[in-house]
């Protein structure tokens, strides 16, 4: 059950290059949001841009959180890429923003007790949506693959270090870590995942990346979930604007906002 509510901006700072962290005090959503769910943010009071923008939530802290300054807060990481995100960079502390959330279906955690291992693969900003998984769930052994075009596009590495020492970094230009895509890097390390039992794989990133992941994981060995990015109209299931083609026999075009954004990887019909 999503809410439409006002939040208060508590910080909006540049992390590096075109990347920003936006903190919003919004306890009604922060209390309920689950890993993989998202919010729709109205980034301006006027019609420019017209539509809300979808954002996955990077960190959220319920009202009951022990650290007072974090209580009831949501944090969004965003990259300044277009009109909407450019306007977002001018949001100031104390300003109100109109939010709808929590939206969509989040990730399914690995089964407990977790003797198995989890693998996270994030491309670009995709890694941000995967971070709440490690804070909320017992992921068992954890392997994190983070990719970006260049060093500046590699996000959240320090956050993941608190949970795992098996962090692998790829950049397409080779400015940091492995040179190539994050899927190339995963393939180069795949021999690690030869053990008995299943691996729980979570992926988020551009369509081309997710398609590449789908092409290299065996369904029997890797239980894979993908969180999809899509242009959205409403974000709450009303417009059918954000569909993705799936293997669903009757309704191949499923709404990313309502039926996803997390789908079993093998359900996506890649084109």
């Amino acid at each position: 059950m999503p809410l439409q509510t006002d939040g208060t901006v508590t910080e909006n700072r540049r992390i590096k290059s075109l990347y920003f962290a936006l903190g919003i005090y919004c306890p009604s959503i922060a209390d309920r949001i689950k890993p993989g769910q998202f919010v729709m943010l109205k980034v301006s009071d006027d019609n420019s841009p017209l539509l809300r923008r979808p954002f996955s939530v990077y960190k959220s802290y319920p009202e009951a959180h022990p650290e007072k300054r974090k209580r009831g807060h949501l944090f969004i990481l965003y990259k300044e890429v277009g009109k909407g995100t450019r306007k977002m960079t001018s949001l100031r502390k104390g300003q109100k923003v109109d939010l709808i959330g929590p939206l969509g279906n989040g990730f399914t955690p690995p089964p407990l007790p977790s003797s198995a291992s989890s693998i996270l693969i994030g491309g670009g900003m995709g890694i941000v949506s995967l971070y709440p998984l490690v804070e909320a769930f017992d992921t068992g052994g954890l392997f994190v693959f983070i990719g970006g075009k260049a060093e500046d596009d590699v996000m959240c590495v320090e956050d993941f270090r608190k949970f795992s020492s098996d962090i692998f970094i790829a950049t397409e230009d080779g400015s940091l870590g492995f040179q190539g895509t994050v899927v190339d890097l995963f393939l180069s390390q795949k021999k690690r995942f030869k053990g008995e039992g299943k691996y729980y794989l979570y992926a988020c990133g551009p369509v081309a990346m997710l398609k590449a992941v789908a092409g290299v994981v065996e369904i029997k060995k890797f239980v894979s979930q993908a969180s999809l990015e899509a242009r959205m109209g409403c974000g709450f299931g009303a417009c059918w604007g954000c569909v993705v083609k799936t293997n669903h026999p009757k309704t191949p075009y499923q709404r990313v906002c309502e039926n996803g954004p997390v789908f079993p990887l093998e359900n996506i019909a890649w084109e």
Binding site: Q4, R231, C239, W240
Partner: protein
């Protein structure tokens, strides 16, 4: 607070207020129940229904332009059978009027659907979509040729006693002529405008922004054209006119009412602010109070 008479009559339907939520922008209604009490609306028009299920168009289906949205959803819907089994029972719990938007690929399909909806309880009226820009076979010919439109409406009219609204396309040279044709055909009201055929190109990929290449433009960008068309139509026919096209707030709604719309529809704005419908009702009430007008009907066509 003073009591204002917001009721308007469209065919046989008496709406408690002139605010209707538009087909294709309000899902099947339930998507909005967390945001406000749907019973306050004048009427709900769920997503358009066809005889058979429709898969819709390939993505991307939506692209934002300056002050507007291009879409090519392609009328994806579960079809008549699943609609009445799975969606229709939901509206039983609502007090607001239910108007069904429907369309066919052929005249026979339109007639068949009108006949079937006629026999179902809980439906106040039918809105015939003769104007969707997103399917190739259906709307276009019916919606842009006055003689075809006349013929189709006349045939559907014979198949139903329910209030029949013809939803007009703006993609014509003379929309008043289209309105006259459906009036002669026996429609009880007209609604306009549907979206404008439009497209956008990504200059980096040199590809269209929509999977279907061409889509329909809606939102504030089209409002002045829609206002002009509603004005022209309301002068040309004696049927009630339902105006729409980029209504974002009560001020926009009042503009349409002033040029002759008896009722209005909220479309694109539902996607951005799901509470637009109820906020428009409140805003209209406020405007009437400020201007010391006791009945909304006094505003209809009060322009000029």
């Amino acid at each position: 607070m003073q009591n204002f008479d917001l009721t308007v009559k469209i065919g046989k339907i008496v709406l408690q207020n002139p605010v209707i939520v538009s087909s294709g922008t309000f899902g099947f209604g339930g998507e909005f129940e967390d945001f406000f009490d749907l019973n306050h609306l004048g009427a709900i028009i769920p997503k358009g229904i066809s005889l058979e299920p429709r898969k819709g168009n390939p993505p991307p289906r939506i692209f934002e332009t300056e002050g507007g949205i291009l879409n090519s959803i392609g009328l994806q819907n579960p079809g008549y059978k699943e609609f009445i089994q799975k969606k229709l029972p939901y509206y039983k719990g609502l007090k607001t009027h239910l108007i069904i938007n429907f369309f066919g690929n052929t005249e026979r399909e339109y007639i068949e659907l009108a006949r079937r909806f006629e026999s179902l309880p809980g439906i106040s009226g039918l809105e015939m979509n003769i104007s969707c820009p997103n399917i190739k076979r259906c709307g276009i010919a019916f919606g842009t040729d006055p003689r075809m439109a006349y013929r189709l409406v006349r045939a559907v009219r014979k198949a139903t006693t329910l209030t029949l609204i013809a939803k007009l396309s703006p993609n014509v040279t003379d929309i008043a002529l289209m309105a006259k044709s459906v009036e002669e055909g026996g429609a009880d009201a007209v609604s306009l405008v549907n979206t404008f055929r439009a497209m956008a190109v990504n200059i980096h990929t040199k590809r269209p922004e929509l999977g279907n290449v061409i889509g329909g433009l809606s939102g504030p960008a089209i409002k002045p054209i829609a206002v002009r068309m509603v004005w022209e139509v309301s002068q040309a026919i004696s049927l009630p006119v339902i105006g729409m096209g980029g209504i974002m707030n009560a001020e926009d709604a009042i503009e349409f009412i002033l040029v002759g719309a008896s009722a209005i529809q909220i479309g694109t704005a539902n996607l951005i602010n799901p509470r637009t419908g109820i906020e428009v009702i409140q805003g209209i009430r406020k405007y009437l109070a400020q201007n010391k007008i006791n009945r909304i009907q006094k505003l209809v066509g009060a322009f000029g």
